[in-house]
Amino acid sequence: MQNAALVGARPPDTSGGSARGAAFGGSAPGLYAAVARGAFRRYSTYRAATLAGTFTNTVFGIILASSFLALWQARPSLGGYDQSQAVTYIWVSQALLVTVAVWGGGFQDDLQDRFRSGDIAVDLYRPVDFQAWWLATDLGRAAFQALVRGTVPMLVGALVFRTRMPEHPLTWVFFLLSALLAVLVSFGLRFLVSITGFWLHDSEGVRAVMLVVSMFFSGMLLPIALFPGWLGDLAPLLPWAALVKVPTDVFLERADGAGLLGALGFQLGWAAVLLLAGRGAQWLATRRVVVQGG
């Protein structure tokens, strides 16, 4: 937002001096941390949905892992994965699916409602940064989903199938970092989709297209390593690869040293590009509303 500098500024004291020197209600990071905590608690109130979703994730994981098992029995070391790696790929991707919101959703549903109802105007009255606000809610959401829909399928998968857990303990740390970066990239993509609502009034169509693209190019349907020809060359360069391909590669220790840093850097780069693009779009959208009257 064009007034970003003012967001960080102290508010003018309008209380007639009585508040001077008193403790302020918190800094900007404090606000967004509170927003993230609120989003976490909000998702934790949807117990039935969480249970049903976790169950679905697990069932799908079993079906997919069984078919991958059969496929890799017929074609061992397909795409450079051995059998246990292929099965692990399924469970890690099931854990990432909702946490990273590969299908879209999360704050997108809220924003869509606000565009339809016109509540979006209220958001502009408030002295908060629009993008930072929704990013905070999405991080809160992702943290909750990671705890339940991320861990349960992984545990079931590890118990029922022969999976390949990381050999180096540090890999877990890199994996969590990579998953966090995946959430940032996913947020960046979804924010760009949702903000089209300022022009289109309804981003449903764009969302539907993005869902298909994201399912395919993230490696959610099929590992990108199995894509043929030029598709296989192109897919790893697109931002969607940061959602599932990179975190699973990190988990399966398919890259180390410079390769690992490169993979994380790839995610970080896309996250930065997409978040900046989102800010630009937000600036244009705000300008459009303020100057042209939306």
Partner: protein, 319 residues
């Protein structure tokens, strides 16, 4: 210095209308057309007008989310569109049909969030929350998720959330819409208290004229983007050329009677209704009726504010 100042403010929108398969016509719509008024600190002003009169456009410009096409506009000394975020800390906005509360979480969480958004010092937050909870009767609701609140309870929650940071100006858009009589009473009582005791300037948009009658010393009527009346409620009667009604019961049914300064608008058996200008005294008319006709009983009816305003809208549209 006036808290809100508008000088010859215009706002036009370009609307593209389809005229054929591919052709479109650009048309300019003047939503606000030369608006000028000032509001002093501490005033409570009713801002009314028919749908599409330019009320929301005005509020949007006052909050800075819409820039005027031309003219000068100042709120608390700043240009709202240029300093929207800074100004947002000093104003409160409540829309009857929108909510800023966090839908799935307890009411308390939304207030906590407001504390952080507006960086309200702890002591002031506790005092303000305590006062709002008491006046708006929110004590039992703080731990209830917002989605479980009734419309009236939610509205009270929204009012509290908008006032925790001691805004200098409170913009209210239809704050009592859809509320029952008891809830409307509570909301009005609270607003009166905020305006009187806290000195908060209130600009109130509503279609419920009882809100205005009970809260506002001053009322601005806007139509076609211009102020057509600005003054007290009494002044509205004069401006709207409103009429009072004299109802007379005669000893027997008669054809419409003839009295100077009044005209019969309705006859029902021995009872007749006579309309006369609201500014005129009823006494000479009553005297003349009593002198010339067999008068049994009479009563004088004041014009309803709704009728006055309806007539005013109609006149403006024709003129």
């Amino acid at each position: 210095m006036a808290l809100i100042e508008l000088q010859d403010v215009h706002r036009t929108f370009t609307v593209r209308a389809r005229t054929g398969r591919f052709s479109r016509v650009r048309r300019e719509v003047r939503a606000v057309d030369g608006l000028s008024f000032t509001v002093e600190a501490g005033e409570c002003v009713g801002y009314i007008g028919p749908n599409g009169a330019g009320k929301s456009t005005t509020i949007k410009m006052l909050t800075g989310i819409l820039v005027p096409s031309s003219g000068r506009l100042r709120v608390a000394g700043v240009d709202p569109a240029r300093e929207r975020v800074a100004l947002a800390r000093r104003i409160g906005v409540v829309f009857g049909q929108r909510t800023t509360l966090w839908w799935d979480l307890p009411l308390r969480d939304s207030f906590e969030l407001a504390r952080r958004i507006y960086r309200i010092p702890d002591r002031r937050y506790r005092e303000n929350l305590g006062r709002c909870v008491e006046l708006l009767d929110l004590g039992g609701l703080l731990d209830t998720p917002v989605r479980q609140l009734s419309l009236g309870q939610r509205m009270r929650g929204d009012l509290a959330a908008a006032l925790l940071h001691d805004p200098q100006v409170l913009y209210l858009d239809e704050p009592t819409i859809g509320l029952d009589v008891v809830s409307k009473g509570k909301v009005r009582e609270f607003l009166r208290e905020v305006n009187r005791d806290r000195g908060t300037t209130v600009l109130l948009t509503t279609h419920d004229l009882t809100d205005i009658e009970q809260l506002c010393g001053r009322v601005m009527v806007i139509d076609h983007g211009r102020v057509v009346h600005d003054g007290g409620l009494d002044g509205l009667h004069a401006a709207g050329r409103s009429e009072r009604t004299l109802v007379v019961d005669l000893a027997e049914a008669r054809p419409p009677i003839e009295v100077a300064g009044a005209r019969v608008v309705k006859v029902e058996g021995p009872r007749q209704w006579l309309a006369f200008p609201a500014r005129e005294s009823a006494a000479p008319i009553v005297a003349e009726v009593a002198a010339r006709y067999p008068l049994v009983d009479l009563s004088v009816r004041e014009p309803a504010i709704e009728d006055v305003i309806a007539r005013m809208y109609a006149e403006v549209s024709i003129g």
